[in-house]
């Protein structure tokens, strides 16, 4: 059903003129922004257990609906997760305590979504231990509703990535949680105690090989503030020989149903295809997303989706371990993928252990660029004196628009070159200026907030989607935007990157286009909605699209 809707114009900004050879200049502005607290995560010089290596995530979310993205960062023990309120002047204020979010433990991931459809974005934080679901009380505080929602777990689990999704399109956000493996301090061997506790002749934290597998969890939203674990009935529990970390949701085969991709460590990655009857089946091997081009299972960490070649289909990027290539899977147009890493020019960065990652158009030229953050799992690796490091720089790939990427990290500003043991990375435009910033959670350090000092010349638009029949966060809604003769796609998604949450709004670089010709939205409810612009419409603004009644 095609319906028209009103474009709600929010923030009007100056139009820009594109420049042919824009060079980004990313700076880490975390300190100036007030993000000065360190986020502990196990040992900084050596690590005894694998649980010290995997945390933690980062999130951009607008918890108080003031139109400005706030920041949430997850912490390991010795600190607390923190919520920072965006003051609107480039600075953030720590509001953790007053918002009821102080919590300690082996925090891993974070994902956001309005699970109770009250118009305010809620949070789930995953733990080695027990996850916590925070209900947002109208932007004035958060309430731990884990038990009330039925999310108390029957045993200690190593929960990692998470995502809200509406897998049955009933208008209520369900919840997917990745489980890495089974771990406990009492029985896990110490570094060097068995063959899986060594790295290049160094005794290191054991695993994941040698530690028991676990399985992933799908919770169905009952629509009354509670969830039911449907992992077994839905088939989510079936893949049982994978070490899962990052999760990426999306409708990869454009059948109107949200699928789930899980980046797995040292084991084949999983692509749960949604069969539309409440069940999923892992089709990753045949669809080409389980292995690399040679059929090898790599050490997947984070995952991101984006249409890098502009063919209208979402492609998948996965970050991997050192001595492995990153993996770029090109969607062939039907939810089947080819490994395009080599062809796209991403084969050279093999010394990095990659984590958080995301497609974003940093220069607003309408082509999806890509950034990933890095850092080895073992601090001990620095003793080897090789070119693999515990703390390392990020990688920024510029999309040249021909299905190819160029690594411009060395000339993209000091923020990209700073060395950290980075994990989660979230992408969002926190100052609504049309440039996407990147929030990075660094182990045992304050976070990084990567912001461009210059302004790219291309035009842009931010689309904020609001579900009515569909879930209020519009998670799962797909957009096709046409401007300047180019068509781009986007999808609202919870979770993604590495254990992180990016802006729920969709950012599109528009290059020279000074008007948007058409915005088509496929809502989870099944509605197709078209906004057709009759006259020149200024770009460079936030546009709210509300689902038709």
């Amino acid at each position: 059903m095609i319906r028209s809707a009103i474009l709600l114009l929010s923030v009007l900004l100056m139009a820009a003129t594109p420049a042919a050879d824009f060079h980004p200049d990313f700076h880490n502005v975390a300190h100036q922004a007030g993000l000065t607290q360190s986020f502990p995560n196990g040992g900084g010089q050596s690590k005894q257990y694998i649980v010290e290596t995997t945390g933690s995530g980062a999130a951009f979310l607008d918890y108080d609906n003031d139109g400005l993205l706030d920041i949430f960062l997850v912490s390991g023990p010795g600190g607390t997760n923190r919520l920072y309120h965006n003051l609107g002047n480039g600075k953030f204020a720590d509001v953790t305590k007053q918002m009821g979010l102080e919590h300690t433990g082996w925090g891993q991931g974070v994902c956001a979504g309005d699970f109770d459809n009250d118009g305010y974005t809620d949070l789930l934080v995953t733990y080695w231990g027990q996850n916590v679901l925070y209900r947002n009380k109208a932007g004035r505080g958060f309430e731990d509703v884990t038990a009330k929602a039925g999310l108390k777990q029957d045993r200690v689990r190593y929960n990692t990535g998470c995502a809200f999704l509406d897998y049955d399109n009933d208008g209520h956000l369900d919840l997917f949680v990745v489980n890495y493996l089974q771990f406990d301090f009492a029985t896990t061997p110490k570094p060097g105690q068995n063959a899986y506790c060594w790295y290049r002749d160094l005794p290191v934290a054991c695993g994941p090989r040698g530690l028991p597998f676990d399985r992933n969890i799908l919770y169905h939203n009952n629509g009354d503030g509670t969830f039911t674990d449907v992992s077994i009935a839905s088939g989510i529990a079936k893949p049982a020989h994978n070490y899962g970390l990052g999760v990426l949701t999306g409708d990869f085969n454009h059948d109107g149903l949200t699928d789930i991709y899980v980046a797995c460590d040292q084991t084949p990655s999983i692509l749960y295809i949604n069969r539309g009857d409440g069940t999923f089946v892992d089709e990753a091997p045949m669809r080409g997303t389980a292995f690399d081009d040679n059929g090898n299972a790599l050490s997947g960490m984070g995952a991101a989706a984006g249409d890098y070649d502009g063919d209208g289909w979402p492609d998948i990027f996965r970050s991997n371990f050192s001595d492995e290539r990153e993996t770029l899977y090109h969607n062939r147009g039907n939810g089947e993928f080819d490994d395009a890493t080599l062809a796209a020019g991403m084969a050279l960065n093999t010394r990095f252990v990659g984590w958080g990652c995301g497609f974003f158009d940093f220069d607003n030229d309408s082509w999806q660029d890509l950034l990933l953050v890095n850092g080895h799992v073992f601090p001990e690796v620095d003793r080897l004196g090789i070119d693999v490091h515990y703390k390392d720089r990020a990688i920024l790939y510029h999309n040249t628009g021909k299905g190819k990427f160029v690594d411009i990290s060395e000339s993209a500003g000091p923020g990209i070159l700073e060395k950290h043991s980075a994990r989660g990375a979230a992408f969002g435009d926190y100052d609504n200026d049309g440039n996407v910033e990147v929030l990075v959670n660094n182990q045992n350090e304050p976070p990084s907030l990567l912001r461009q000092s210059g302004k790219p010349a291309g035009n842009w638009v931010l689309l904020k989607l609001v579900g009515v029949k569909s879930n209020r966060s519009a998670i799962g809604a797909r957009v096709r935007l046409t401007a300047g003769g180019l068509t781009q796609i986007g999808e609202v998604r919870s979770g993604g990157s590495y254990l992180s949450q990016s802006d729920l709004r969709l950012h599109f670089g528009l290059a020279n286009a000074r008007r948007i010709d058409k915005v088509e939205t496929w809502w989870p409810s099944g509605e197709r909605q078209v906004e057709q612009v009759e006259k020149d419409l200024p770009v460079n603004r936030v546009i709210t699209i509300r689902e038709s009644q």
């Binding site: 290049r200 028991p212 091997p285 045949m286 059929g295 070119d387």
Partner: protein
């Protein structure tokens, strides 16, 4: 360990027999065997070896034959008779495949022979390029690639015409660093190897891989094609050509090449994976499913002691 334990268990019995009259011992082949085993365990190999050899050759008793063979090979090693130990251990491996004691003894034989030969090489030909080459290979095994590259360079300086040195240097350069700049250095060495030996298919293949990494797929494919023509059974090269054909949507040719690789190497998981995707891309769904089944079967670790060990460690079924 099992052999040594058995010998120790037998030792008192044989020693007791030794105290009987020699005539009685001589009458019983089994007693002679026990005596020989005890003598070998006590280090009296010269006395023991004739009877051990006889028992190993003649006894119908499998366990006694196994113990006699192990003791005989141990005595050969102890006396530096590597050439004589070789056929004994070869026969033991045939008779007792997978036996840990036999495999251990065989490994010891090769290790001893390697050490002695290496020592001799360093002593008698210390300035030979072969000393640098073997040193480089040892460094490679130890993962010390920079030192390996340095030794290969010394070897090349001494004998610029020797085959394989440039190839190995190129490989060490690739392993020593993740820097894209080193790809060029490595390629130069593979090219130098080809100058010495234009029929080196693996050097051609390595250059193809470097070109592919550097985005020059057209030039890479030519190298892969040449590698495959130099060695028509070179699975990796055939697979690389097949992938190029598939990328060019020449499905028939790509699939034919991959089917050839799978015939050549039925256990090659990578080839099965490529063939599965090739069938998929060509729309041959049933064939793709069959390949996936073959791949799944291959990916299941073979049964055995090590697999059981892994299962105990990591393959526990998850709790629900």
């Amino acid at each position: 360990m099992r052999a040594i334990s058995a010998i120790l268990l037998l030792a008192p019995l044989a020693a007791h027999g030794q105290q009987d009259s020699l005539g009685k011992v001589a009458e019983s082949p089994q007693r002679r065997a026990f005596l020989a085993l005890a003598q070998a365990a006590g280090g009296h190999c010269v006395a023991a070896m004739p009877d051990l050899a006889k028992q190993f050759a003649e006894t119908p008793e499998p366990e006694l034959r196994r113990l006699a063979g192990l003791a005989l090979s141990q005595c050969d090693l102890a006396q530096g008779h590597y050439d004589e130990a070789v056929p004994v251990l070869a026969r033991l491996k045939t008779l007792y495949p997978g036996d840990a004691d036999v495999l251990y003894q065989t490994a010891r034989l090769h290790m001893r022979a390697w050490n002695d030969t290496l020592f001799e090489m360093y002593r008698k030909a210390p300035s030979s390029y072969r000393v640098n080459q073997i040193s480089a290979e040892i460094f490679e095994i130890q993962g010390r690639y920079a030192e390996a590259a340095a030794e290969y360079r010394k070897a090349i300086e001494k004998n610029p015409a020797a085959l394989d040195l440039h190839f190995h240097l190129g490989r060490a350069l690739l392993l020593q660093s993740h820097s894209p700049e080193d790809l060029g250095l490595a390629r130069r060495e593979f090219e130098a190897e080809l100058n010495l030996n234009p029929a080196d298919a693996v050097a051609e293949y390595e250059i193809g891989q470097i070109l592919l990494t550097g985005q020059d797929s057209a030039a890479a494919v030519k190298r892969f094609e040449r590698a495959a023509s130099l060695d028509p059974a070179f699975a990796e090269a055939l697979q690389a050509v097949a992938k190029a054909r598939m990328d060019a949507k020449q499905y028939g040719e790509g699939i034919a090449l991959l089917e050839k690789v799978v015939r050549l190497q039925p256990g090659n998981e990578s080839a099965h994976y490529s063939l599965m995707l090739a069938y998929r891309n060509a729309g041959r769904t049933a064939d793709a499913a069959a390949e996936q089944a073959a791949l799944d079967k291959l990916r299941q670790a073979p049964e055995g002691e090590f697999t059981d060990f892994l299962k105990r460690l990591g393959d526990k079924a998850p709790q629900q």
